[in-house]
Structures are given as structure tokens and as C-alpha cells.
Subunit: 431 residues, 2 copies
């Protein structure tokens, strides 16, 4: 049974505050194991990768098999059904088109002082893309990570993917092909992250590592951060649906279940101003669960973390949304725009009755890697900015330095940094 909260009742604030701080994920403490794995890979390189792959992925690799041969990629990708390949192409083109529009512009101008100022964006030179194997092998995630990197201009994209028992996932290989990824290593886990961060004889070190993974992969990313850049550490998925009573309850039930089926720790929340509609959605969820192939997962998620929140007016949802800061927000109402304008904290908004969140997971164009666990208050979904860095530019001549220098000298001396002051003063013949 999902949580039930009613903003029209006294005591709601305390209930809601408690609901907000509820943790959904058991913290698995794998830190010590991961520290050891990273040290092994740094010390023994490919040999450590081969040992861990034998142990964790039950397969024997030679060093010259760590990198997948182009023919092996092609052969596996060829087994991807044509309609899936076509859909991946369709998705890749839309993701590329959307992310191109997010590319920032360089700036370069001369200001009144005569100083020439600028900022320029450059791609990260090399990026490692972690792709999970087994059950969570999602070709859509390959596109969502690799395509923005390509759009940003990343020259080298190295993919690591565990292939337990030696099996390649045809759709993942097809997605890599479509995204132009040709450098693929069949290793996974913390050992693959360590190899990308520090390099081995076979795998050259990268500058940044992105992509989802299990607790070992997440711990490894945290530990190598600094040596390389990393993307966010994504938590379990979330949806918040704000719906009026005019929706088809079955549609909204499917949207809630499309998050709940991800993971027992996933969270689906409905906010509505219509108590009768809420009850209908709840019945529809039960009905759908009875025929869902992933019912066990979805039912566990819905029972433990699901919630139905009743509000007096839909406008009252705005403040709650911003406090929940959901990864995904659906506004299934007649006029979603004015409501949308008032929302500050969410990774993505789906507007209207015909914009189910699932369309955004695959083909809408925006990224499906989005901030979870309330981090939409301060962070953004994956995008081209994650694959770029900005350098500032300052050019002065004698005249512009003469205009800027005296104030800088005063501040340097106020901070007790005399060499800073002198570096300017010496050029201006000032004391």
C-alpha cells in the first residue's frame, strides 16, 4: 500500500517532512573491497583485469582479448533485430539534434578598459563510458551517454562493458555502433573504472568517466574522482505525476508503474486534487500489476515508496514538487504551461496528457540521465556541458593594465599578498 498524505489535513507538514527524508536505498558498504581492487589494477594492470574477470564474470580472457575486435562488435550488432536498430537510429538522431541546441557559445570581447576578455569551451579529450552488463544492459543508456559526448566534440570515447559468460548484448553493440563508439573493452565492475582512471597496457587512461553502474562501480567512481572527472552518482529512479481528475486513471497508473518497474527502490508519487480520481488510479495500479511481467519489482516499489498526495487545489502542488525535487515530473493537466513555469526543482517536465515519461526515456531528445534523490535542487541532467570545460581568457596591453592595475594592487596589498601587487606594479613602474 502506498503512502497516503493529505495536504488538506492538519499534521500534513510533519508527515510530509518525514516522507521527504525517507531513505530508499540500503547503503551497501563496498568501499574496502573497491579500494583493494583499484590498488590491484594500478599495480598489475591487465593481469588484474584478467583475474577479476575470471572471478566476477566467469570468463577467461587473454590480454589481447580485453579489447573487442571490430568484427566481434559487428557480428554481435548484426544480431540486433532490424526494428530495434531502426528505433535506436531514430532515438540517436533526436538525442543529437536536441543536444546540439544546448551547446554553449564562446565569448570574446573588448571592454571599456581596453582589456580583451573571453571564455571558450573545449571538449574533454577522452571519456570512458561505463555500460552495465546483464539485466541492466540498456542500449538507450549507451546513446544517452555517448551521443552528447560526440556532440560536445570528445575525440576519444572508450566503452567498458562486462560480458558475463562471454555473451555480448546485440542491442548494446548496435547502440555503440550507431553512436560511433569503436573502442570497447569487455571488462566491468570497479576494475574497469580503475583501468579507465589509471590506465593499463591495453586501456589508456581517460580524463572523465560517465555512466551508470552497481554499488561497486559507484564506489569506484567516487574513489577515482580527482584523478579523473566523473558524472553524477545516480540513485533509484523517481516520477512525480501531478494530475487532475480528467485523466484516464489507467494512463496515470501506467506512468507510475513505468518507474516502479525499474527497481524496488524506485519511487512513484501521484499528486492530485481529486480524491475519487486518486482511488481510481490506485485500483488501476492494482489491475495493471496483476498482468505486469515485472510485477514483483513494481509492487515492492509501489508498496514501500509509492505515495498519493491529495491537495486542495493543483496550485498547491507547486511547493510540494519543489521540495520533492523529483527526477521526472509529469503535469497531466489541461493547462500545464502556467504550472510548469512556477516549478523550480525537477530534472525534466513532461507537459500534458500525451507526454508519458517513458517517451523521454528513449526518443524525445532530452537526456534520460537526470538528478535523483532531491539533487534536482542543485544539479542538472547529463548534457553537453558534462563533456566540455571552459577556459577564461584575459588579454591586456600596457594601457588597459594601467586602467585595471591600481585597484588590483590595492586589493593584493589589503590581502597581504605583496608579490601579487608587485607583479602588476613592476609592469607599470609603480611602487
Amino acid at each position: 500500500m502506498p503512502h497516503r498524505l493529505d495536504a488538506r489535513q492538519p499534521g500534513f507538514e510533519a508527515q510530509f517532512a518525514e516522507f521527504l527524508t525517507g531513505k530508499r536505498e540500503a547503503q551497501q558498504d563496498v568501499n574496502d573491497a573497491v579500494v583493494a581492487i583499484i590498488a590491484e589494477v594500478r599495480n598489475r594492470g591487465d593481469a588484474a583485469l584478467i583475474d577479476y574477470t575470471r572471478r566476477f564474470d566467469r570468463m577467461e580472457l587473454r590480454a589481447d582479448q580485453i579489447r573487442l575486435a571490430g568484427t566481434a562488435i559487428d557480428d554481435a550488432a548484426a544480431q540486433c533485430p532490424t526494428d530495434v536498430r531502426d528505433a535506436l537510429h531514430f532515438a540517436a538522431e533526436r538525442i543529437e539534434s536536441y543536444h546540439r541546441k544546448l551547446m554553449p557559445s564562446d565569448i570574446d570581447y573588448r571592454d571599456a578598459s581596453g582589456a580583451q576578455l573571453g571564455a571558450r569551451w573545449r571538449p574533454v579529450a577522452s571519456v570512458g563510458l561505463y555500460v552495465p552488463g546483464g539485466a541492466a544492459a540498456y542500449p538507450s543508456s549507451v546513446l544517452m551517454n555517448a551521443v552528447p559526448a560526440r556532440v560536445a566534440g570528445v575525440k576519444r570515447l572508450a566503452m567498458v562493458v562486462p560480458t558475463p559468460g562471454g555473451t555480448l548484448n546485440p542491442a548494446v553493440m548496435a547502440a555503440a555502433q550507431i553512436a560511433g563508439v569503436t573502442e570497447i573493452y569487455r571488462v566491468g565492475g570497479a576494475q574497469a573504472v580503475a583501468a579507465l582512471a589509471y590506465g593499463t597496457a591495453t586501456i589508456a587512461a581517460v580524463d572523465k568517466i560517465v555512466g551508470p553502474g552497481n554499488a561497486y562501480v559507484a564506489a569506484a567512481k567516487r574513489l577515482v574522482f580527482g584523478q579523473v572527472g566523473i558524472d553524477m552518482i545516480a540513485g533509484p529512479s523517481e516520477i512525480l505525476v501531478v494530475a487532475d481528475g480528467a485523466n484516464d486513471p489507467a494512463w496515470i497508473a501506467m506512468d507510475l508503474l513505468s518507474q516502479a518497474e525499474h527497481d524496488e527502490a524506485a519511487q512513484a508519487i501521484l499528486i492530485t486534487n481529486d480524491e475519487g480520481f486518486a482511488a481510481q488510479v490506485e485500483r488501476a495500479v492494482e489491475a495493471e500489476l496483476s498482468r505486469s511481467p515485472r510485477a514483483a519489482i513494481a509492487r515492492a516499489s509501489w508498496a514501500a515508496h509509492g505515495a498519493i498526495i491529495l491537495v486542495q487545489r493543483l496550485d498547491d502542488a507547486v511547493a510540494l514538487v519543489d521540495r520533492i525535487a523529483p527526477e521526472h515530473l509529469e503535469l497531466a493537466v489541461a493547462e500545464p504551461e502556467p504550472l510548469s513555469q512556477r516549478i523550480q526543482n525537477t530534472g525534466a517536465i513532461f507537459l500534458g496528457r500525451y507526454a508519458p515519461e517513458a517517451v523521454g526515456d528513449y526518443v524525445a531528445g532530452p537526456n534520460h540521465v537526470l538528478p535523483t534523490a532531491r539533487s534536482a535542487r542543485f544539479s542538472s541532467g547529463l548534457g553537453v556541458h558534462d563533456f566540455l570545460k571552459r577556459t577564461s581568457l584575459v588579454r591586456c596591453d600596457a594601457e588597459s593594465l594601467a586602467r585595471l592595475g591600481p585597484a588590483a594592487i590595492r586589493l593584493a596589498r589589503a590581502e597581504g599578498l605583496e608579490a601579487h601587487a608587485r607583479a602588476i606594479a613592476i609592469r607599470l613602474n609603480l611602487p
Copy 2:
């Protein structure tokens, strides 16, 4: 004596690789102490802040004195010398003007499918700004952190600053006034970070914490990350000067020393193609050191971490610069533009003989909070983006969903996520 490397000699690559991996900072392990401090502040709130302030800052606070009164801020700021206040105003205006030009634009468009797609940037609602007390109390850092936050539109900026023995720094208070920061708490250390992250009766929790601090502050920021956002953890400062033989050696020596005087762990590197000039710079450094008020620090930094690297041609510097990925890069050459264009990895470039790095620390306009320790390979200086987050927008109607939906359904089923497929199919009357 600084490191000496010569790219024209055999053995250089091994020497340079070793130089690159040299660590400059002793890792101070304060993690356990900081975990305890955070737990205390979460449990006991203001009472814990009062206890830690008594212990670490040697002063007795009442709960109603944790927040500085407006009159106390004004009184302290009034003691800031007029010429310093004027210089802070001058700097703040230039920082604001530069950062305004970096503001990203929202996007909003309808594509060929009829779907309406967008991305909009919104300010982080509340930001905590850590300002060190004592020796490292830099008013310029207050401006460099607070002004971009204001430009981004952050509504609430809460500053924490330790005031050991009760003393307020007039220039820091003046900088806060100029940046429009009126919410100031006289607490510091890990306890201040914990208060900003989790809130106390006096200090409301924020969404993100920025600003420099000592090892305790840095450890606290790492530990509260997730609960709130944080900026980068800055390491010791660095400069790399690429200079031809036509520079005044004393100018370049001052630039090297202006980094070296920051901190014994700071690093100053000269790359030149003129061996005689390199020797002149080294002599000039010695001469300047003999009259520098911070000679002990600068000498220790220069001896332990300083370096002079000789190259055959200045063009050979480009690859070395990108591997060092310095926080600050000076191109003190006749034609800096073509060289600048080829550089990929650095936080900031200062072009020409009249652009000493120190001018960028204070008044040029770009931010002085920049990536250190080779992280310019994958990250950027502080800017408006650090105070913004992006939400993606997808609006579909029945027609556009009909165009996008079938591909999404195929991919969802290929990934075994039936509820995802059904959330779309149910709206299109598809199986």
C-alpha cells in the same frame, strides 16, 4: 632549487611523467573528526555550534549572536579603508559584467514531429558561502563566489565566516555588503558546513555550499555532498608561464612568486625556449625573494615544487601545457593568440606581456576560483553555471506522440520494460 627539465634531452619523458604525478599536498586525515562534528550539529543544532565556536574560535556566543546583526556588519565594514572599498566596488562591477555574458539561454522549439522540446535554466534557490577567517580571509574570494551567485539569480545567499576571538575582517564585511550578502553567521569549520547542509534553529539549510576552506571544511563538504550540492574542492594554486627570451626576467620572476607566495604547496612553472633567459629568471627570483615579506612561504614552494622546463621551440610547450593542465597559464610571448588557440587544458589563459595573472585574481572579471591539480582536463572555473540547474521540457499531443511512440515502445520492449511500453501504447490504442 626548482626542478629543472629539458625537453631537448633524452630521458625527458620519464622525468616529466614523474614530475606530473608528484603530490604537493600532505593528505590530512580529519575524516573521523569531521563525521563526529557533523553528527553533533545534526543532533544538537545551535548548541553544538556554540560549543565548537568556544573550542575552536575561542569565543562565547549566545544563540542570538550566531547571526551577525546588520549594525555589526555595517560597523565592521565602515572600518574598511576607502581606497580598498573603491577597489572592491571596481572589482565587483567587472566580475558582474563578465559573468552576465556567461549566462546560458533557455531553449524552446517545436520539431518536425510536432513535439515541443525545451531546456530552461533556473537559479539554485539557496546557497551557503563559506569564507575562511584569520590569515586566509580574502575579500576578493567573497566577491568571486557571491557575485556570480547573484548574477545567476540565487535568492538566498547565506555566508558563514569564523571570527576567532570575535574579530570581524573589515574588508570581508565590505565585500559582503558590496555583493549584497546580508545573512552572515559567525561560525566556521566543519560545524558551519554541517549547519548549512542540515540546518539548525538559527541557520536554515541551503541547497548548495561553495567557497574555500581548510582540510576540515573540505572534508565536511565531501561528507555533506548529496544532501546539498558543493563546488569543487580546490587544491593549492598553480601557475605555468610560457615565456620567450624577450621578456623582462624580473616581470616573469614576479609572476612565478605571486603563486609561490600563496602557500608552500603552491606551484610555479616556467617553460621557455631560451636557456639564458631561464637563468636570468632564476636569478631574478632569488633577488626578489630576498626582499619579499612572504619569502619563507615562497621560497619553500619554489624549492619544492617550482620548475623550469626548457623546450626547443615554444610550439613544443603546447603538449606539455595540456598534460600539466595548469590552473593559470600565462603566454608571455610576442604573438600569444596562435599558441592560445592550440591549448586545450587550463583554467585561465593570460595573453601577452602585460597580463600578469595577479590582475585576474582581483579585477579582470573572470573568476579566480579555478580547477587545480590537473582537473582543468575535465572541469571549469566557478561561474554562473554552478548556481544554475537545467530542467528539460517535453510536450506532446496525440499526433506527435503517435510519431514518437512506436520507436519508444520497441526500445522499451527490447529492454524488457513492459510498463514503459504500455504507458505509451495505452495512449495510442496500440497493443
